[in-house]
Symmetry: C2
Subunit: 266 residues, 2 copies
């Protein structure tokens, strides 16, 4: 039935794979549109090329790095997807974040010199390795590089409130709608369809990310298919009626009451 539902996601990478070992240049890399949205800039391409130490394949379900691994390299996702696992205060591993092409991995480790989270591939993936040592050296020589890297870290900071914000939502319907819309937007930005895409994570990954259980995710999906303008079949997602999906987030709307519980002032 819906067994070969790959859409077009893996096509571009698969073409590039053959040449990938010989090809270090970002300018020539087939992934350049999706990749390095902040760090990369065409006029710096020659500088940046020197920093790419190599590429690394990570097969589905194996880890790019984990807690306590020594830190040498930053990684930029070339193609594929990853999940970030971190321990909650009771010691359970939870999914904190999903990475896609162009995302920079490893900046957490700069502070302590070793990685703080496990990063696991959701599908067969490839990353570019960037030597942190070389990057720092490059920053001394080309000061505009400093600014660029600071911006990259800064937007990672902003981004980290995302799941925290999502978990603030009282109802799971809101969380799930928010999750889907966010994914859709990310696929859109990558140049894929934001209307139809394939989930690369399991139901239990979704559950972990949303702060709930597999069973509830299953029920959410059933209910969203029936009521909220999407069609989720296996891992294939189709956004039938985006407005209806967005409405889940706006339903809470009490017309114009101050949404905060902080004192009025001014």
């Amino acid at each position: 039935m819906h067994s070969n539902v790959h859409i077009s996601r893996t096509e571009a990478p698969s073409i590039v794979q053959l040449a990938s070992n010989a090809m270090r240049s970002c300018a020539l890399c087939g992934a350049d549109k999706a990749c390095l949205p902040e760090l990369f800039h065409t006029k710096d391409a020659h500088v940046f090329d020197k920093l790419i130490m190599g590429k690394r394949r990570i097969s589905r379900n194996s880890s790019l790095c984990q807690e306590h691994d020594k830190f040498n390299m930053l990684y930029v996702v070339r193609f594929g997807q990853f999940k970030v696992l971190n321990r909650d205060p009771t010691g359970m591993l939870r999914v904190m974040k999903f990475y896609m092409a162009g995302d920079v991995i490893g900046m957490d480790a700069i502070a302590s010199g070793s990685h703080t989270v496990r990063v696991m591939a959701l599908e067969n993936s490839e990353v570019c390795e960037i030597s942190y040592l070389h990057l720092r050296r490059a920053m001394c020589e080309e000061p505009q590089f400093v600014e660029r890297f600071l911006r990259t870290m800064s937007s990672a900071l902003v981004d980290r409130y995302e799941r925290s914000s999502l978990l603030s939502l009282a109802s799971l319907d809101e969380r799930f709608a928010s999750f889907l819309l966010d994914l859709s937007e990310k696929y859109g930005r990558q140049g894929y369809s934001s209307r139809a895409f394939r989930l690369s994570m399991s139901r239990s990954d979704i559950g972990s990310y949303l702060g709930t259980t597999v069973e509830t995710v299953s029920r959410l999906i059933a209910r969203f298919n029936a009521q909220h303008g999407v069609s989720i079949n296996g891992r294939l997602v189709e956004v039938i009626d985006r407005k209806r999906l967005q409405a889940v987030l706006e339903s809470d709307a009490m017309p114009r009451s101050p949404p905060v519980q902080s004192p009025l002032f001014e």
Copy 2:
């Protein structure tokens, strides 16, 4: 009764206040022990001093910065405390983080050039203003400064998973225990007592941070006083039995304990 429960927290700052306008040097600043745990390093003090553009007082319940404010300055908390408010996907403001002395504020804004969150003082507070322009200039001149700043941003990254981790915890008991232990540890690192301290945030701030309501926070406190080795009276917290508090988090840590599951009964 417990009306003047200030413990010793504000003493050191209050001594410094008088001289604060004249005194820009980190080396002379009374807050130096608590402040700048990463960015500051004694041998760089002379460089760093040049970056401090001034100090700024923020009175209780007013904002240091908010969404869309233009970004010029980073701030380092000199004394006092702040909460960070961010909008969840439905538009409600939620408490994402509490800042204490030494924390660096504003790094989110580097990417976009404007602030992304509201930062509000929980008590009368003071920050050092650091010109981002000057900081970048300093980084060009003194390369080891780059490394230091990257480390500061990196540990901010690690830190941002904290609330996300906390909200992953299923039960509110776990979240609240985690919250208290974390606060206790932070006060300890600041040189104050980790056994007794004063909450500077309201119950509803706590509720927002923990992802619950004021009422539930109230009930949590009552129950924790009775059962979990703490005494919380108004805003005064005393950790009576730390192990008991920690035990709340360890309840389900190990693989298989012997609960009641047996189909046989007597």
